[in-house]
Symmetry: D2
Subunit: 261 residues, 4 copies
């Protein structure tokens, strides 16, 4: 499935403002980036680096005035969203080293607080994929998905109190529940074709049966058409942009995904 | 300064229990590990890996029964605790890539909530080292240091509400305050010679003037004799041990540091 | 300076053939990639990874028949080619860890064989930048630059015997000479604007005075307009493509660089 | 199997001389280091770093006079030397990214020159483990193992001409032959219990059937008792020590391995 993604950000800057942006599609085994573009207006010196998760990050200092970033890409998405019912729980001693950090609590996923709740939600389930699927179903039924309602990331504890949230919030709660059962889980941010309403999206992956599987409590069924921008422990690791110094206004953020095959 | 460090942990295990332990001194430019030892009793297969922060981690599955870990080392500590008054703030665009992740909020350092408070604490200070020193002084005066009172890590927000805490808690609040000013800051765990009462210790570093400087709000003056075990964003990254599955009791934890030169 | 780069490769494949290609511009502090594209014809599943040098690599299996790869990019090149006469030699104990591997001999740079020769070439020079500049001048005067004459990489020893070579060959000899003086040196491959005749290019960098400086013995003067694709120890690390299994013919390789600002 | 390893190096230094040493046992899944020690005499400031292969390296500047390094360790070796006849060849497109660099030619393993020879040696063998086993047998029969005869590493081409060599030399030829068949292969240096005559040792691993297997053409049968110090592409990556500046004499190098269980 070939997709064209597009994200436009517009800011009004009052003093030179450092930014770290994460807008490039992820380069990995499950998607192929045939073309991509990142235009800065006005053009400023920018540089890129790869963070510890392998995400491509962009650094720049935005000059005073109107400042816009237009990022687009043509991506072939692999069929990486297959279901794996019955995929077994991997005992901690058999996890790859690289999965271990996704067992620990993080800024927005206080997994150390959810063990009892996760055990109840997954009662009777076979350890592994089926537990995560039970968590995903529980989120879908119990936490109201209210796209567009939150400005700042909320932590799993906060989301659980509020019983509603945006995609990122449901994701945080799903991750915290998985980790509390010793299942590695990580956030993914990116695009989803046909997301309603269209916006940047967040979902989660869990490591069971020897690989990462995709879960998304905001959608009725797992669909194709996910384009990954970045992986992390939670939203703190994968902000679309981090801006330092005096807060600036993002006047406009527009996201588009079109099918092109 | 040559130090012999020693940490002993004893557990009663009821079912095979996976552990990840962080007990080995850090191998880096500022300390030299001449000798070290890690004995498991009973002896079990164990393996080591290096996490994304460069920390040496140990994985094993503890068998049912009494289980003990004895770790010791002879370490020459470098004089890495010098003060640097006036060391300037480094603007985000000039930070090394490796320092950037220490600007972001993390599990126990909700730096996104402290900008106003940090600005007040550091009012009138020259940006950089002097701001961090003001934060350290403020912590020393305002947050009661009560060693041995906390079982679980507390986050900066919680510590600020409670106005007291263990070394780890003061560290979390210090880090959150630094990061809210765009100063990279990280936790360090390890040993401190002559710490009263003796225990594992935590302190923080801040990146100003082109290098990391040591800060420790629990001590009246910055002393020598720090032995680093690990670096991280907060206590979630550098737990002495993470244990998975049914909780086990740590019956005994003993820490010793002797001068040997 | 804004450049549009373009590389086209065409192969005739007889059996499914695995490739690793290095065609994407490097993402680092000294150049900004505003747009880039990599088209495979026919379209096949491809995936990318980042090697230990930070180079973006592309993996795929080419199907039997005609197979083409068209890679292009729009790159703003930083002014990273400034001269630094007098930049001092950095003693090994003060080099950053990351530079150390560039002191060791490698496949095509047998630096262990060149100490005497390098000492003679640089006699009387101030240690550091001036030594490397003397090596560069010596290469320019003594080794005939014969673009387009070599099919396989030649090692420094071979180039020194033959006294002529393509850009890659002069680079290997330059690197071996630098390393034999304990100056870290690495190969760079990429594009050079206005290179005559146009082709993919190779040059080298040396670490003196606390940073990497660019050297190119094939050009009369150091010019702007270098676009980096990859860094490595020598040509073995940065082949435009490595192909496995039965050898295939590259029917056509075309390179273009245009100025677009 | 518990082993105590010991390596002693003694040098006469005439001017301050930078060293990078690789003496610590490797920390990985297949061996457990219960105790280790590294004494410098006289004591000098030293620091450690982890190279891109995960090897623990030691940096220091040796002062003029007699200089000694005594490294010892207690290591539990895992049974990682099992044979795997029939383990299949892994096609390049299915290799993990981390294995790919072990397919390329390197300083002492000019795999680009050995394809015909490797095909002859392995004619009729099932692709994979059996090919490597045929290469190992061929080395054992055709290349005379003459321990203690070589001072400098020799490359696969040189060893093949000379038809004899030390463990490192046979290893280089074995690796070059494997890589020429698109089988990832790497050098391992370390200790071997009961090696006759006792010395530091080198052997190789090949990646077939989804994991690394141990091969050693210098021994009649694959035995237990290997203690790994480091992994690399060839001897250039894993020298026991690299010394920079004016050459110094190693007056004495003594190696011991005792069984302690």
């Amino acid at each position: 499935m070939w997709l064209r993604t597009r994200c436009e950000l517009e800011f009004t800057i009052t003093e030179p403002t450092p930014f770290v942006l994460m807008l490039r599609p992820y380069r990995g085994p499950n998607q192929w980036v045939a073309q991509e573009e990142c235009r800065l207006s006005p053009t400023v010196a920018a540089s890129e680096f790869i963070d510890t998760f392998g995400n491509l990050c962009l650094r720049l200092v935005a000059p005073p005035g109107e400042f816009a970033v237009h990022a687009s890409a043509e991506v072939m998405t692999a069929d990486n969203s297959d279901r794996g019912p019955g995929a077994p729980f991997i005992e901690v001693q058999h996890l790859p080293d690289s999965a271990l950090s996704y067992l620990l609590p993080s800024r927005y996923c206080e997994s150390d607080r959810f063990h009892t709740m996760a055990s109840e939600i997954t009662a009777g389930q076979q350890p592994g994929y089926n537990q995560v699927a039970a968590i995903e179903s529980w989120l879908r039924e119990r936490i109201r998905y209210l796209p567009g309602t939150s400005e700042f990331p909320e932590s799993a504890v906060e989301v659980n109190l509020r019983q509603s949230g945006v995609c990122r919030d449901l994701t945080h709660l799903g991750i915290a529940l998985c980790r509390s059962l010793s299942i590695p889980s990580r956030i993914v941010v990116g695009y989803l074709h046909d997301l309603q309403p269209m916006d940047m999206h967040a979902w989660f992956e869990a490591y069971v049966g020897g690989r990462w599987y995709t879960f998304d409590a905001t959608q009725e069924n797992l669909r194709r058409g996910y384009v990954v921008i970045g992986y992390g422990r939670d939203a703190a690791d994968v902000a679309l942009y981090n801006q330092f110094g005096a807060p600036v206004n993002c006047n406009r953020q527009e996201t588009r995904v079109e099918r092109i095959d």
